[in-house]
């Protein structure tokens, strides 16, 4: 596994790190990736790939009915939005 390109990762995650922070975090990320890398040692020849983890519970398919249900604290939720202009949410200039 390639060592992490901290600069690229920061760009994708929209995070800013100082050079010191970046130098410190790079090895930490590597260690986490290597720790997961242990999974590569597992024998999978006779195992069918699972689409995703989590088994289906027969009685519940994880679906909800197409019925209207409002959040009970909707007004205070919307009121707590940082910056509004009238009914719209105001966001800073979009750069890209």
């Amino acid at each position: 596994v390639k060592p992490p390109n901290v600069g690229e990762l920061c760009e994708k995650a929209r995070l800013s790190l100082t050079p010191d922070e970046a130098a410190e975090i790079g090895p930490q990320i590597s260690r986490v990736v290597d720790w997961f890398g242990q999974l590569q040692e597992v024998e999978l020849d006779n195992v069918d790939p699972a689409i995703r983890v989590g088994h289906e519970v027969e009685s519940q398919r994880g679906l909800r009915r197409d019925e209207h249900l409002d959040f009970t604290e909707k007004d205070s939720m919307v009121a707590s939005v940082g910056e509004k202009e009238g009914v719209f949410i105001k966001v800073p200039k979009i750069l890209n």
Binding site: K12, R14, I51, R52, V53, G54, E56, R61, G62, L63, R64, R65, D66, E67, H68, L69, D70, F71, K74, M77, V78, V81, E85, V87, F88, I89, K90, V91, P92, K93, I94, N96
Partner: protein, 540 residues
């Protein structure tokens, strides 16, 4: 700056010049490009313009269909067009910490319907993934979508190209159909409403979380009209299934296209250009044809390297595609399985019962009408809108003459609907009354002309044709004896003209016919009347 030649793609007689760098010699541009239905040139557009014969265009279409569910994909907020901004929101669709999505079962139902209608293989087990990027209209910082295991794959759709564009039947492949959620809406304040000039932006999250089905076609289309008709057919299928309003104008059906060209015979694809911002099938047609010509012209000048993989916008005003932004490099969406959602499992019995309950699809209706003997032109009109074809079918069930019923629906009724801005479900003339009207004309009780006169009243007020005819005393006069006495009267009242006729002015026969017609307020059977007039004038 580059020298530019204006490209004007207008209506009938458009001579095409090209925005390009640098100048394209006039000889390369002996092309007529038509987007107007009225153009006679267009009927030969199944023939490729000479300048394009060395090249083949490869077109693919990506369509986003907004589903007409009551609530959003992953929460119980209303999915509602035109509501006050930020009124249909909750922690889930606003992406607040701790909120968890739960899939709307009707979204699954609609997805299965569409997958089956598009002849797809359904994945009985599929999953959701996070497509991650940052944008102000995407509250969670990711869109819940389906990446590598979509709910449906490997389908197809059949279309019939409009007669005025050369007609023809096509079958286009569908690569995949998957479920995803829509983003919110951005309004760019200041800077003339454009993104680049705005000091800030305003966000409305009502649309965030609205369920979408994304349909990706195989790159099987070769012309603008093929792609436009593909989109029109997808819209028809969506409306027919009742899963959405399928309207490009309203924004509930959105199409992006990918266009590339390659020298004919070359196996490798050319550079693919994405085009966005087409608000109608007609705009798709024009945008694609423009883009094909733009790319071919660059090739012919040896400048194919200037065709870059980018997103271009269709400008309706100037009728051209323009660069949206400089190439940024491919986005890295860092897809991974959505941990908050279970695997999407379909039961075969569920799929089978949905399949059995599917309505007759537009292509099936067209084949059925063709088999009835209707012309392709009529088939395309009658089968375009399900409510119209259902009306037509009901009229036929009542025993109406097929051709006459078709003509009444496509002609007078459609004209009335257009003027009054109504749809066929608004008219008060039921299929059985139309059938009645048709049979009364067919058996000669009234003339076609009288039929046209009473139609508006029947549409507005309902009632039966017989009632209106009786109320207005409009029964057709078909008794020969009665007609004979009417003709005698007219000849008597017009001695001068009769004299002139006998002296050789044979054109006056029409005058006498007109007079008889007028004297009966249009009620006399025209064919019989003309026969009697001819007899009385000694012509037969």
């Amino acid at each position: 700056m580059a020298m530019a030649m204006a490209m004007a793609v207008g209506s009938c007689e458009s001579i095409v010049l090209l925005y390009s760098q640098p100048r394209i010699p006039r000889s390369a541009l002996q092309i007529r490009c038509s987007s107007s239905l009225a153009s006679k040139q267009a009927s030969s557009s199944s023939k490729i313009p000479s300048a394009l014969q060395d090249f083949e265009a490869v077109i693919g279409v990506e369509t986003h269909v907004q589903l007409g569910t009551a609530t959003k994909a992953f929460c119980g907020c209303l999915s509602q067009y035109g509501a006050q901004p930020n009124s249909n929101v909750c922690p889930v669709c606003m992406g607040l910490p701790g909120a968890l999505p739960v899939l709307n079962e009707r979204v699954v139902d609609f997805a299965v319907k569409l997958g089956l209608a598009l002849n797809c293989d359904l994945s009985l087990r599929s999953k959701f993934d996070r497509k991650q990027y940052f944008y102000a209209d995407l509250p969670k910082g990711y869109q819940i979508s389906q990446f590598d295991i979509p709910i449906a794959r490997h389908g197809s759709i059949e279309v019939d190209l409009p007669v005025e564009y050369g007609g023809g039947h096509r079958k286009f492949g569908i690569t995949r159909v998957h479920i995803e959620e829509d983003a919110g809406k951005l309004v760019h304040a200041g800077g003339g409403g454009r993104l680049s000039g705005s000091p800030y932006s305003l966000v409305d999250l009502n649309r965030a979380g609205v369920p979408l089905l994304e349909i990706v076609s195989e790159p099987d289309m070769r012309t603008g009209i093929e792609a436009a008709e593909y989109a029109a057919e997808v819209a028809r299928v969506v409306k027919c299934l009742g899963i959405g309003s399928g309207s490009m104008a309203e924004g509930s059906l959105r199409c992006d296209v990918n266009v590339s060209v390659r020298p004919r015979g070359q196996a490798a694809f050319g550079t693919k250009v994405e085009i966005k911002n087409m608000n109608s099938c007609a705009a798709m047609h024009r945008a694609i044809d423009f883009e094909i010509l733009r790319q071919v012209a660059l090739h012919k000048e040896g400048l194919e390297s200037k065709i870059v993989q980018e997103t271009r916008l269709w400008e309706e005003g100037s009728q051209r595609t323009v660069t949206m932004r400089a190439k940024e490099g491919l986005a890295d969406y860092r897809y991974f399985p959505e941990p908050d959602l279970l695997e999407l499992v379909l039961k075969q019995e569920q799929v089978d019962s949905i399949n059995e309950a599917l309505p007759e699809l537009p292509n099936e209706t067209r084949r059925r009408y063709e088999a009835l003997g209707l012309s392709m032109q009529d088939v395309l009109v009658l089968a375009d809108d399900k409510s119209v074809s259902e009306y037509f079918d009901s009229t036929l069930e009542q025993g109406a003459d097929m051709k006459m019923a078709a003509n009444w629906i496509m002609g007078d009724i459609t004209a009335y609907l257009k003027t009054e801005k109504l749809s066929i479900s608004d008219v008060k003339i039921s299929p059985s009354v139309l059938a009645e009207l048709v049979s009364l004309i067919k058996d000669g009780t009234i003339s076609g002309k009288i039929g046209k006169e009473i139609l508006p009243e029947l549409i507005r007020n309902g009632g039966t044709a017989k009632e209106v005819i009786e109320a207005k005393g409009l029964t057709q006069i078909s008794d020969e004896a009665e007609i004979a006495s009417l003709v005698d009267k007219v000849l008597l009242e017009n001695p001068k003209q009769l004299e002139a006729f006998k002296k050789g002015k044979t054109k006056l026969q029409g005058f006498f016919e007109g007079q008889v017609m007028r004297s009966t307020n249009g009620r006399v059977n025209p064919i019989l009347m003309k026969k009697v007039v001819a007899q009385k004038l000694g012509l037969s």
